[in-house]
Symmetry: C2
Subunit: 233 residues, 2 copies
DNA sequence: CTCCCGATGATTGTCAGACAATCTGACAAC
DNA sequence: GTTGTCAGATTGTCTGACAATCATCGGGAG
């Protein structure tokens, strides 16, 4: 169920850290399409013609169709009957919805901070420091974006529920799509390390309510910023 | 973006309320498989052989494969590489996870009761009365189950977020699978109308905290009951 | 007698090609 | 200006096929 997990349940052997890329063609195609969408190579609304794409990727049409079905299920593309699949075009309404969904999921995680596993709490700290290091190192826009979203995902991880995390991943994927569309040309990521560091400090000090309030502001601000830039297309 | 919405943006015409069943073969196949799973016709762990199923349903193998991919994406079936897909077998861990996910989503909805739209609140009341009427009428096990879960979905609807509702639907689907497996033989549904009515009364009176506590007990009890029966298979 | 090993059949993953149904756009007819 | 019709393009679906992989089972080595 979890992609990164080792599937063998051998107790402990000398062959740890060895895992073979057992991905199917469909998975690779889907991954390549996701990458293209997130990197902004495909503008929103672009129709994904089956024959052309299949030929371009060197796979058969049924295989490509399965991959497209995955993308549609993830909300990264939309299918209109008899009209094919095209890259999803985020509208203000869906951005608002994604934002409220994020708020619910991440708030639930933060409220569980005192009862969360030490492992989950450590994951939050690690995600934050990784982000801050990326900022300090002047990492690329793509990497900063990803590490920033990883922080928010780690907050959902505080619930300890794999299903909630996977839901959050799906929602965040839609957000990445919207961000990619907005920043297709001018890709500048503001430094938000301070805000997140403050968030973690509040959690560590036990003031969960204040942290939740801060998160609410943070997400609401992001929502407004995205919608604003989305509407002057 | 919303399924029930008319896709034409004509201002207002005499042709409202007209909609044609535009379902594809893949959708129909997936729906039939879901039904079979929920009715308990397919035991958990049953391998879904592609050729046999395709022939039995009168569709081609690629079409069936797309439908199976949908089921897998919904968590109702699992795919093992080169070994095909089989009906998912709920284990205690996943039931616990489903329960915590439900708790998060439904609690979020209830906490939003005061700010929810009147439409959403009315949906909760309607779902409850529909369930109570079904109980009074001595409806079938299947119908009672569905109406009971509809109440819980309506609680998530209080968030006003379509995405959260669809997440809840996915989670509830897994729960229906587990219930179908448990009650494959003895299908008795306890009358839980009283508990839910009390829940709604608490909400209407404005005591959201008490309602949330009550919901927590309710879900935790259900979780324990399911796991208990699951473990004496 | 037990255990490892290789052949055999079944099943999946993937491909190529084909056809009908439907959509799009343009053009002719009323 | 609306309607009818047609050609091209695209999707939805089917058929048939092939290699890769997996499960089973019988035989030979120890």
């Amino acid at each position: 169920m979890h992609p990164g997990e080792t599937s063998t349940d051998a107790p402990a052997g000398p062959f740890d850290g060895l895992s073979l890329e057992h991905s199917s063609t469909v998975d690779r195609v889907a991954e390549e399409l996701r990458r293209a969408v997130f990197e902004g190579e495909l503008e929103s609304g672009t129709p994904l013609r089956e024959v052309a794409l299949a030929e371009s990727l060197g796979v058969s049409r049924p295989t490509l169709r399965e991959a497209l079905a995955l993308l549609v299920a993830e909300g990264l593309a939309t299918r209109e009957p008899n009209r094919g699949v095209s890259v999803a075009s985020p509208d203000p309404e869906s951005v608002r919805d994604v934002s409220t969904a994020r708020t619910v999921l991440e708030t639930a995680g933060m409220r569980n901070w005192p009862h969360a596993s030490e492992e989950a709490r450590e994951a939050v700290r690690h995600a934050l420091t990784a982000y801050e290091q990326a900022v300090a190192a002047g990492a690329s826009y793509q990497e900063l974006n990803q590490r920033h979203l990883a922080i928010h995902l780690s907050l959902v991880g505080l619930t300890g529920s794999p299903r909630l995390v996977s839901m959050a991943e799906s929602v965040v994927a839609e957000l990445r799509l919207a961000l990619a569309q907005i920043d297709r040309v001018r890709r500048n990521a503001r430094d938000q390390a301070g805000s997140h560091h403050h968030l973690l400090d509040l959690l560590e000090s036990g003031d969960v309510d204040a942290a939740v309030a801060e998160l609410g502001d943070h997400l609401h601000g992001a929502e407004d910023a995205i919608i604003e830039r989305l509407e002057l297309d």
